[in-house]
Amino acid sequence: MTDAKDPIVRIEGVTKSFGSFTALHEMNLNIASGEFVTFLGPSGCGKSTTLRILGGFEKPDTGRVILNGQDVTALPPNKRNVNMVFQDYALFPNMTVRRNIAFGLELKGMGQQAIKARIDELASFLELTAYLDRRPDQLSGGQRQRVALARALAPDPALLLLDEPLGALDAKLRAQVQVELKAIQRRTNKTFFFVTHDQEEALTMSDRIVVMNKGRIEQDGTPEELYFQPASRFVAEFIGETNLLSGRALPGDQGAAGFDWQGHQLRAAATVGKTAPAQGAVTASLRPERIQVQRDRPTTENAVQGQVVNRLFKGHRMLLDVAVGDTVVQAYTDTDRGRDLADGPVWLGWNASSLTLLAD
């Protein structure tokens, strides 16, 4: 994905510091046209700085930003064909919804009738027709979010930036808007650049996720790649729940890596992304839902024995804490089976592809 054939945005060697704090280290990234890219990371990781550099609100210290083949590094926001949905939506409180959406169109010099047509079109598309003459303070959170989206889409930007636009919504609405937003992106075929710290949001909507940490790209790939083949300990911990097992790397065989954990000789997935060391101390990631828990020895490639020490009821499934040696491994099982496994020894089993050796 990094070598997209038709990149609409090229970030070339961009570095940005604020005082002694380096927000971005030498970033290089291509974004393909029509892609839904999510920048994911904890606060201060540089994802918002990247967004603001693309929007023109910050100037990089070094490097270039190429938009549609044109170097826009030095252009102010008002001269870029990029629009943004702000975290707080930033709807102009003194204007009606209609005037808000018209704002960017007017400044493009469009005729008033053409503007009206375009607003009506967007409003029916985003189900805002009934609210066009209201002011932002008369709208609900979800409606405001759609107005912000309509306003940013109206001038037909080459790239749409979204700065944690779902943060202000409650959990239920957020889930619904995630689906809507993805649908809107598909239908408009616009390039979306979405920034969030919420991994679930990122997994749901994105074509591609870029995980950021301390100003650097940690991993860049599809949601599945990130989830099942985390390149680093940071990614494995940040996305989803996981067990981190400390052991030693062993020479592998037949397309699998070897891993020595508490004396068990385990088979692990061949590493992807950043290469984990082939020898010596290493950490491995094992997703709790990839583990089978049962009384008798499973037929999986790896199997170890342990003792259930705690159970956490989560409705349709149960999270078991299983002590293996001096480590507690968490594993999901369905609720009925979890009840039967209350105490006594159990077997944990998983295949080589579920155990990923990590670079730090």
Partner: protein, 264 residues
């Protein structure tokens, strides 16, 4: 606080309210007295003094003169005050504290000293005592108040509003007129009315910078020096009503602004 101290404080509050309001109430009452002499008791009541106010061309002229001075000086103070507030807000630069200090300077110079400083400066630039000298001095004196009110409002303006406007293609000038200025309007209305009041009420600057034509406070001062009469009560009452209405309007405008800021 114990119950007793609370009651004591309540008494002090009401005593203070009486101290503030009784003189004004008496002044209004005295305007109805059917006699040339100020003082109690009031035996007969008349509306003549109030009617006389609206027929006295000297008073009406002074009122109009004060109003023109108030409006023009307020316009200048609003323009400069808003500009300064915008320049001072949102970024730190070398000398910002000095600039802010100089901006607030006219508000802390004692009245007489500020009046004579303006008198000397007016002479330096060849401005004759009269309407423009007064307007100029009122404008300068009122700028700090506008700056404070507008800066307070500006500090609540989310940064994203201006960024959103620029993002949608507005240059900084259009952004100011379409986003920032509308946001500042309630503060400017409140601050403007406050300036209008300060100008309309000002005596010391109008006195030292005035020419032949008196502003309303200068006229009342002159009348007071030549002896008290219920006519002055009537004039003062008219002034009181005018200023109270303006003041309440300003207060409402500022309060609405605070409420809206809380809702945003």
């Amino acid at each position: 606080m114990t119950r007793n101290t609370r009651i004591l404080m309540q008494c002090i509050y009401w005593a203070f309210v009486l101290y503030l309001l009784i003189p004004l109430a008496l002044m209004m009452l005295m305007g109805f007295k059917d006699s040339k002499f100020i003082g109690f008791p009031i035996r007969d009541v008349t509306l003549d003094w109030y009617l006389a106010v609206f027929q006295d061309s000297q008073v009406l002229n002074a009122m109009g003169y004060s109003a023109i001075i108030g409006v023009l000086s307020t316009a200048i103070a609003l323009f400069m005050g808003t500009w300064i507030a915008v320049a001072l807000t949102g970024r730190s630069f070398w000398g910002r504290a000095i600039l802010l200090g100089l901006t607030l300077l006219p508000a802390v110079i004692p009245g007489v000293i500020s009046a004579i400083a303006f008198r000397i400066a007016a002479r330096l630039v060849g401005l004759e005592p009269g309407m423009w000298a007064i307007i100029w001095s009122h404008a300068i004196h009122n700028v700090p108040f506008v700056v404070l009110v507008v800066m307070a409002r500006l500090s609540t303006l989310p940064k994203s509003y201006g960024e959103a406007a620029q993002d949608l293609g507005a240059d900084p000038i259009i952004t100011f007129f379409r986003v920032t200025l509308p946001y500042l309007t309630p503060a400017m209305i409140g601050g403007g009315i406050f300036c209008l009041l300060l100008s309309f009420d000002d005596f010391v600057r109008s006195f030292f910078l005035g020419g032949y034509e008196p502003t309303l406070p200068v006229l009342i001062f002159a009348k007071l020096r030549s002896g008290m009469s219920p006519e002055i009560n009537a004039i003062s009452t008219v002034v009181l009503v005018l200023t109270a209405v303006l003041g309440l309007w300003a207060e409402r405008s500022m309060r609405g602004m605070k409420k809206r800021a809380a809702n945003d």
